[in-house]
């Protein structure tokens, strides 16, 4: 009996410690004005993906992250800070990007992040910089041709934790079993080893996978509209507005289209004419 009481006591003390720790969260960095800070240091720090082909991928030859989003971020930095502005890149994943932004480690997230109402409660989004939509990647010759084929018992869909494509598949194919893996590379490995019937996420990422893996095809077209936006901390209105202005400028000047063509021009199935701005 004595031991049980002592055990409960220890647990209670731990719980109390946790509650105290959670309640005293000061966040000075993320509340400072990002735009003024960036202008002072002449640097904007971007959170980008490093595992996503075409959008942001670590080039192991020179250890730099390259992709559509990286180029867009560089172009935006030049617009905001002038031609000498420096863009710094920090790797993020779907799980780490919001905490890193909230902590002030990064100024903005440009990492295949779809604008959703739930996320807008946590962060502020700029205008969309890429019109993505959810699609399916399957093995060539698979009986699955669209999302309806997945909506039956015994079918398994693979997704990535933290992406909203996994929430959507719950709406479009509620009967299918859903496995959430930690990143796209792992989800693709799981698809290859037969752990699931289809891999679902945004079309841009799936095109990247299909281009690399000849035995796999994107099927069914997009069944959702999920524009990607740049996320900044709430309250950073000036920074957000300057990014929107910069985005409008590079769209007008044709730089956006140039970057789009550079990365997606040769991807089979990608409709450049429809996507250009």
């Amino acid at each position: 009996m004595k031991k049980i009481i002592r055990y409960i006591g220890v647990m209670a003390a731990l719980c109390a410690a946790l509650i105290v720790l959670t309640s005293c969260g000061a966040k000075p960095l993320s509340e400072q004005n990002v735009l003024t800070n960036s202008e002072k240091s002449n640097t904007i720090t971007w959170g980008v993906k490093a595992d996503t082909k075409l959008f942001g991928l670590m080039d192991i030859k020179d250890n730099r992250i390259k992709g559509f989003e990286v180029d867009i971020a560089k172009a935006l930095t030049k617009q905001v800070l002038g031609s000498k502005g420096q863009a710094k890149f920090v790797q993020v994943t779907s799980q780490t990007r919001i905490p890193l932004l909230a902590n002030g480690n990064i100024d903005g997230i440009i990492a295949t992040m779809t604008i959703t109402p739930e996320r807008e409660k946590q962060v502020d989004f700029t205008n969309s910089y890429f019109d993505a939509g959810q699609a399916l990647l399957v093995k060539k010759g698979s009986p699955i041709h669209n999302v309806k084929d997945l909506n039956q018992k015994g079918k398994t869909v693979l997704g990535v934790v933290g992406s909203n494509s996994v929430e959507n598949i719950g709406k479009y194919a509620p009967k299918a079993r859903l496995l959430q893996l930690s990143d796209y590379a792992q989800a693709l490995t799981a698809l290859k080893s037969g752990q699931g019937d289809a891999l679902t996420t945004d079309n841009g990422i799936l095109y990247g996978m299909a281009a690399e893996n000849p035995g796999y095809v994107v099927v069914g077209g997009t069944f959702t509209e999920e524009p990607y936006g740049i996320a900044v901390n709430q309250g950073q209105t000036e920074f957000r507005q300057s990014l929107n202005t910069a985005l409008a400028k590079i769209e007008k000047s044709g730089e956006y289209n140039r970057i789009l063509k550079k990365w997606f021009g040769n991807v089979p199935g990608f409709n450049y004419e429809e996507a250009k701005r």
Binding site: K3, L18, I19, T22, S163, S182, A190, S193
Partner: protein, 212 residues
């Protein structure tokens, strides 16, 4: 943290259940397999000793994640279709059994050699002496390090999250990304791990006092 329990209680409970199930299965089998290889290591039969050495050295020195990924990715292609939970549990069992084998072996070695000689002199076979004389004493010595292994096993079961095994960590990742309350979610997950490991560690301490 309280609201995480309120909103996602069912998911967390499912994760807790799967973590517990995986831990119990892995604990049971890794204890059996580990003890078996520990005995193999101390037999006079050279072939068994070599087999045990290879098993222990290989699986003790490969990261758990690699073993688990092997069962998740390679085995379904070559042998049989197994899901993430099974792959994770098998990986955890094999990995932990190598450590338990070394722990139990040290226990067997620390039993005085006179015990074995005495048992053999009284007409017992090697296996009888092992079963009735050596192992009961050896296990008493190794209860504290075995407790460590068991607690490590529970914590290592979070490897299931990596292969979509629906364990506590997996549910934590999913909840964190859905609710966007990362800190609170992982704290809740940490508390639930404590709920498993603290009683285990208290129980091992109790056993230690009672037996050793």
């Amino acid at each position: 943290m309280i609201n995480i329990f309120q909103n996602y209680g069912a998911d967390l409970l499912l994760g807790l259940g799967n973590t517990l199930l995986c831990s119990v299965i892995a604990l049971f089998f890794s204890l059996i397999i580990g003890s078996m290889f520990a005995i193999f290591e101390t037999t006079p039969i050279k072939a068994l000793r070599i087999i045990a050495r290879i098993y222990i050295e290989v699986f003790r020195n490969i990261p758990l994640l690699v073993i688990t990924m092997f069962f998740y990715v390679v085995i379904p292609l070559m042998v049989a279709k197994i899901d993430g939970f099974t792959a994770g549990t098998i990986g955890l069992t094999i990995y932990t059994s190598a450590f338990i084998a070394e722990t139990v072996r040290s226990g067997i070695n620390s039993v005085e050699s006179g015990q074995m000689e005495g048992a053999r002199a009284n007409g017992m076979t090697f296996w009888q002496a092992m079963r009735y004389i050596i192992l009961p004493q050896a296990f008493r010595y190794v209860i504290p390090p075995l407790g460590n292994q068991f607690i490590n096993l529970v914590k290592n079961s979070s490897v299931l999250a990596f292969v979509a095994g629906f364990d506590l960590m997996y549910q934590g990742n999913v909840i964190a990304s859905n609710s966007l309350q990362t800190i609170n979610t992982y704290m809740a997950v940490g508390v639930l791990y404590l709920v498993i490991t603290m009683p285990l560690s208290y129980y091992m301490r109790h056993l230690e006092k009672k037996l050793a």
